[in-house]
Symmetry: C2
Subunit: 422 residues, 2 copies
């Protein structure tokens, strides 16, 4: 897919989020959206070349001369913002987990569902049996659904294969789907998502095989940028996580982890691995916050999981923000605990249930998501030199994006300079 | 708008909800969906004439002869169900209440926001000033948005005018918007939504004017089928509600009420007025449940308001269902406490936060919504003789409708026999 010269004009509110690129947004800088009214954006070769007012853009000499070659989009006074960066998704699965859904309604908890053969393990069989083409189709549809809700960059994890073969297959599927999609996909190897049934009771042996066989194979085939571990009660221990992080480091892969979803794990020992992000963060010890704030590690909240699991407890965003921790928001798109492709839904939850302001939710869903993927040099804000990734919303005020809930007000996305109608 | 002969074929799961029409669904009958697989529906003159399998439909002699006159829709094995009946909405307003939204995030509660000039009163100024054409356009857009999410029948309340003139204007706007929409609109007069600012401290005088001036004028102009009252702490008292119900009764208008959203009001005294529905029902005394269960009054839950207000408490649906009370679900679409047009979102909330099963949520959103509007003879199930109101969802299993959250899987609605692509 090649991008043509593109001009967006008559943008009512352009949320640029421009500014310091020295590190992720923290504290009060989280809510500095740097909005331009009556704005225009000019893009060439899939990149932003200039940002300003519509009046100034239309006066630009280059543009005057080349007007006919340029695709012009009239934004009719609507809101434009950087495309969302969804930095935590699990899109490689075959079926919705409707049985788990009904069991939970009848009163079963996360661990009881897993014990009964549901949970992560329920998705393994489907992925192991599925052909690559069928899986690729499913991931491609999910990416399109995400784009329809304003997302232009997606982190996509393996983790429902849990064997060398089916984990490599999952990552190949992510690569194949990414090639069909104009947006940007960041692949993550999550072999340590759960202990697969054939290793039941032999967790350490499985971790050894993740480290000795899977990580080297993934690195060699350049199939992932990150290694992720589900570190929690009932999943992998802090020691097992550290072993996996070390193997990732040795193979030149960056690190991220699921932390504190069900129980507290102390974070300090992990910070020396410089994880790009620690995700979920429902249970985090106060004593870990200063070190987290002093690091470039982002705390990524995925309130869709709290919502779908019917929990009354949500990550305490204000505690993190006030401690100076950089926070991001993601969907956690997956069939067991967060079947949603919508970043605006994650933002609505952050505003209504975590007391994040609309401005903070937008920064967390864009620029800080980009930091959580180590892509802030290219993604997450609308600035000259960055990729032309935008979402146009049919609203007059940016605060309406998390305000209207359960409905989709996104009407257009631009991904690497390529416009796609919703 | 006139409907042409219409045939839906290859329906993977047709949720008919056919069966006894003696009263609303209660207890275990709430989850009897009466699903037909590989189904077909034939509609003539905006009504269902036959329901069966695709094979049988294609053998029908009348159909064989008239095939060319019939619009055929291939449902590609997707799920079809009765169009949702959204039995509680407040669509006549001019602006989203973004200031209230941000104040609530900063910690203000419902009453503090009202005290600061927000809440219901904040919408009054907009409605009083607005022209009829502009308001009609806004209501028409809201109805279209609702239809896009599978809703084909909408109850629409006035209640942001709160003067004789602007309440009549609001109801005229509802009538005008309804005429432009192929679905069905049921208008409700909600003059007793709040005490307007000019009557501050003179609640009884306002109630007198609602009873003596507004209700007679609304009835005379046939602008509403129902009279509603917001009966709660900070709104109208039980005595004031009873006075308004009496006036409604005298003028031949049916009754519904907002009850128990913020505090408990005893229900028994109201049941003699035979309200079609009592809505919200967050706080209800156990001692009232037997009488409620013995009546035909529906308890309508609007969990969107609990969600948007960030409450951890939701209506205790299971307590009502187990007591034999007929329950319905609605969006409560309004700018202050429930800015959503999506019935699937209300159903998702019911499943994840009120422990209703997907089957119960569907019955509550269709046939029991129809009972709550006294329209069960025409709406809420797919049966010969009823109106041709359907929603086609791009899913394979009806349980996916509340499962995927924050996204819209509805791809087509049929309203009174007229198909509308989403």
């Amino acid at each position: 897919m090649r991008s043509k010269p593109l001009l967006l004009v008559n943008i009512g509110q352009l949320v640029t989020l421009r500014g310091s690129n020295v590190g992720p947004r923290r504290g009060s800088s989280l809510s500095k959206l740097a909005i331009i009214t009556d704005a225009a954006i000019l893009c060439l070769g899939g990149m932003v070349v200039s940002v300003g007012t519509t009046k100034d853009a239309l006066r630009d000499p280059w543009l005057k001369k080349n007007r006919k070659r340029v695709t012009e989009i009239d934004c009719r006074s609507r809101v434009v913002l950087p495309g969302f960066v969804d930095s935590h998704t699990h899109p490689v699965f075959t079926c919705p987990r409707l049985v788990d859904f009904e069991k939970r309604i009848a009163g079963a908890n996360y661990e009881e569902i897993a014990e009964a053969g549901g949970g992560i393990r329920a998705s393994i069989e489907g992925v192991r049996k599925a052909g690559k083409a069928a899986l690729t189709e499913l991931v491609a549809v999910a990416l399109e659904d995400m784009a329809r809700h304003g997302t232009t960059t997606v982190e996509a994890k393996s983790g429902y294969g849990l064997s060398l073969e089916s984990e490599l297959k999952s990552l190949e599927v992510i690569r194949a789907a990414a090639r069909r999609w104009p947006g940007t996909v960041v692949p993550t190897f999550l072999g340590a998502h759960a202990v697969p049934p054939e290793y039941r009771g032999r967790s350490q042996e499985y971790v050894d095989s993740v480290c000795a066989a899977m990580i080297p194979a993934v690195a060699k085939a350049k199939l992932a940028r990150f290694v992720d571990v589900f570190c929690d009660r009932g999943a992998f221990s802090a020691e097992e996580a550290a072993q996996i992080f070390k193997a990732a480091e040795e193979h030149g892969l960056a690190i991220r982890a699921h932390m504190g979803q069900l129980s507290e794990t102390r974070l300090e020992p992990f910070l020396r691995f410089k994880p790009a992000s620690l995700d979920h963060m429902d249970y985090v010890n106060d004593a870990d916050l200063p070190a987290l704030a002093a690091s470039d590690t982002v705390a990524t909240f995925v309130p869709g999981a709290n919502y779908f699991l019917g929990l009354s407890r949500y990550p305490e965003a204000r505690r993190f923000i006030e401690a100076g921790v950089a926070v991001a928001l993601a969907t956690d798109y997956n069939p067991g605990s967060s079947p949603t492709q919508s970043m605006p839904m994650a933002m609505s939850l952050a505003c209504t249930h975590m007391k994040m302001t609309p401005a903070e939710a937008i920064a967390a869903a864009t620029i800080n998501g980009a930091w959580a993927l180590r892509l802030a040099d290219r993604k997450g804000s609308v600035e000259p030199g960055k990729d032309a990734d935008f979402a146009v919303f049919d609203v007059e005020d940016y605060r309406e994006i998390p305000y209207w809930f359960g409905v989709n007000r996104c009407e257009l996305t631009v991904m690497n300079g390529i416009p796609a109608k919703v």
